[in-house]
C-alpha cells in the first residue's frame, strides 16, 4: 500500500485494528498501575502520619522525592537499575511498577486528606465501644475517609492514563509505540499519531464520565 496526501482514509482505516489492539495494552497498564497506586498509597499515608518519628520523616522524604521528580526519569531508573540488581522483569512490569509508585505518592496524599476529615469524635466513640485500634481504623475511619476523596482519586486515574504513552520510551508496545512503529515502517506519521490522540481523547472522556458516576455513587455513603 502506498498512502497519499496529507490524510489517507484507507490507510487510517487499515492501521486502526493494530492501534486498537495496542490500546488494550494501554488500558491494562493503566488499570494495573492504578490498582498498584491505590495499594502503595495506603502504607505511605499511614507512614506519613505515624507516631514513630523516623518512620514519618522517611516516608515524607520518599513521597516528596518521588512527587518532585519526573516519571520518565523514574521509569528509566527502574528499567536500567533493576537488571543490575539481578531483578529482570518484562518492560511492562517495570512501567507498571514505576507508575504505581509515582501515583501511589499522589494517592497517599489524597488518603491522608480523607483520613484527616474523619472527626475525632468517631475515633473516640470507637475507642469507647472497646474497638481495637486496628478495627477502629479499618471499620470506622477508612470507610468514611475514602468516599470524600473519590473525585481526587478519579482525577489521578485519568492523569495516570494520559501518562502511559511515555512507556513507549522503554519500548512497551502500547498505543504510541505502535504508532511510532507504523510510522517508521510506512514513513507516515499523520494518521497513526492523530489516531492515537483521538483514541486517548475518546477513552479519557469515557472514563471521566464513568468517574462522575462513581462519585455520585460514593456520595450515598456520606
Amino acid at each position: 500500500m502506498n498512502p497519499t496526501g496529507v490524510w489517507d482514509w484507507a490507510f487510517a482505516w487499515s492501521i486502526l485494528p493494530q492501534l486498537l489492539h495496542a490500546g488494550v495494552y494501554t488500558v491494562i497498564a493503566t488499570v494495573l498501575s492504578f490498582v498498584g497506586a491505590l495499594l502503595i498509597g495506603l502504607p505511605l499515608a499511614l507512614g506519613r502520619d505515624a507516631a514513630h518519628r523516623p518512620l514519618r520523616l522517611v516516608t515524607g522524604a520518599v513521597v516528596e522525592g518521588v512527587r518532585s521528580t519526573p516519571i520518565l526519569v523514574q521509569v528509566y531508573f527502574l528499567y536500567f537499575v533493576l537488571p543490575q540488581a539481578g531483578i529482570v522483569l518484562p518492560a511492562l512490569a517495570v512501567g507498571v511498577l514505576a507508575l504505581s509508585v509515582h501515583y501511589g505518592t499522589y494517592v497517599s496524599e489524597a488518603y491522608r486528606a480523607g483520613i484527616a476529615s474523619v472527626t475525632q469524635g468517631q475515633r473516640d466513640a470507637a475507642a469507647a465501644l472497646g474497638l481495637s485500634p486496628r478495627a477502629t481504623f479499618f471499620s470506622v475511619v477508612l470507610p468514611q475517609a475514602i468516599p470524600p476523596v473519590v473525585p481526587a482519586l478519579g482525577n489521578y486515574l485519568i492523569a495516570l492514563f494520559k501518562e502511559t504513552p511515555l512507556l513507549s520510551a522503554i519500548a512497551i508496545v502500547e498505543l504510541l509505540q505502535t504508532a511510532k512503529i507504523i510510522g517508521s515502517e510506512t514513513f507516515r506519521y499523520n494518521e497513526p499519531i492523530t489516531l492515537v490522540g483521538l483514541i486517548l481523547l475518546a477513552l479519557s472522556l469515557v472514563s471521566a464520565a464513568l468517574i462522575r458516576r462513581v462519585e455520585r455513587w460514593s456520595y450515598r455513603w456520606r
Binding site: 520518565l72 513507549s168 472522556l205
Partner: protein, 216 residues
C-alpha cells in the same frame, strides 16, 4: 566532573524550556480561564472545547503530533519551539482551570456590590475580583508549575538535549546507571524545590490579603 558539567548543561536546557513554557502557559491560561467563566456561550464554548481537548489528549502525543505531523502539513518549527509551544498549549489548558477556580472563589456578592457602586465590568475584574482571586491563585499555580517542570522531561523523546536526554545518552555510553540517574533525580528535585520556595514567597506576598478578607 565531566559528568556534572554535561548534566548541568542539560539542566540549563530544561530550565529554559520550563521558563518559556510557564510564561506562555500563563498568557494562555488567563484569557481561557476568564472565557471559561463567561456567561456568553459564544466565548465559553470554544474555551471549554480547547481546555477539554488539550487536557483529554496526552502531552506526549501532542508533542509527537507537533513534531512529526505538523511538518507534513507544511509547518516547520525548530524542535525547541515545538517543545516550548507543546508544553505551553497543554499547561495553558490546565492553568485555565486554576484561573477559573480562583475567580470562582470570589463571592458573587462582591461582584454585585462593586457593580452597584458603579464600577465597569473591567473595573470589577481589575479592582475587586482579581486581587481577591490572586490570594487563591498562587498555591495551585505553583503546584502546576512543578508539574510543568517534570513534564519537560518528555521533550527528550523529541530529540531535545534536556536533562533527561543527556542522562539517557550518558547512560548508554558509560552504563553508570545509579550515579547518572541519581544525580538527575536530585537536580530535578532541587529545581522543583526552587519553584516551591518561590510559590511560598509569592503566597506570603499575595496571601496577606486573605487575613484582610477574614476580618472584613
Amino acid at each position: 566532573m565531566d559528568l556534572v558539567t554535561l548534566l548541568l548543561g542539560g539542566a540549563a536546557v530544561t530550565a529554559k524550556i520550563a521558563a518559556g513554557a510557564a510564561v506562555l502557559a500563563l498568557l494562555l491560561a488567563l484569557p481561557l480561564g476568564l472565557g471559561r467563566s463567561s456567561r456568553s456561550a459564544a466565548i465559553r464554548v470554544p474555551c471549554v472545547a480547547y481546555i477539554e481537548f488539550f487536557r483529554g489528549t496526552s502531552l506526549v502525543v501532542q508533542l509527537f503530533w507537533l513534531y512529526f505531523v505538523l511538518p507534513q502539513l507544511g509547518i516547520r518549527m525548530e524542535a525547541m519551539t515545538v517543545a516550548i509551544l507543546g508544553i505551553a498549549l497543554n499547561y495553558g489548558a490546565y492553568g485555565a482551570e486554576v484561573v477559573r477556580g480562583a475567580l470562582q472563589s470570589v463571592p458573587q456578592g462582591q461582584v454585585m456590590a462593586a457593580r452597584a457602586l458603579g464600577l465597569s465590568p473591567w473595573g470589577v475584574l481589575r479592582h475587586v475580583v482579581a486581587p481577591q482571586a490572586m490570594t487563591i491563585f498562587v498555591r495551585p499555580w505553583g503546584n502546576l508549575m512543578i508539574q510543568l517542570l517534570k513534564a519537560t522531561s518528555l521533550v527528550s523523546l523529541i530529540t531535545i538535549a534536556d536533562l533527561t536526554y543527556r542522562a539517557y545518552q550518558m547512560h548508554q555510553l558509560t552504563m553508570r546507571t545509579v550515579p547518572i540517574f541519581g544525580a538527575v533525580l536530585v537536580i530535578y528535585f532541587v529545581m522543583a524545590q526552587c519553584i516551591a520556595l518561590a510559590t511560598t514567597l509569592a503566597d506570603r506576598r499575595f496571601g496577606r490579603w486573605r487575613h484582610v478578607r477574614a476580618q472584613a
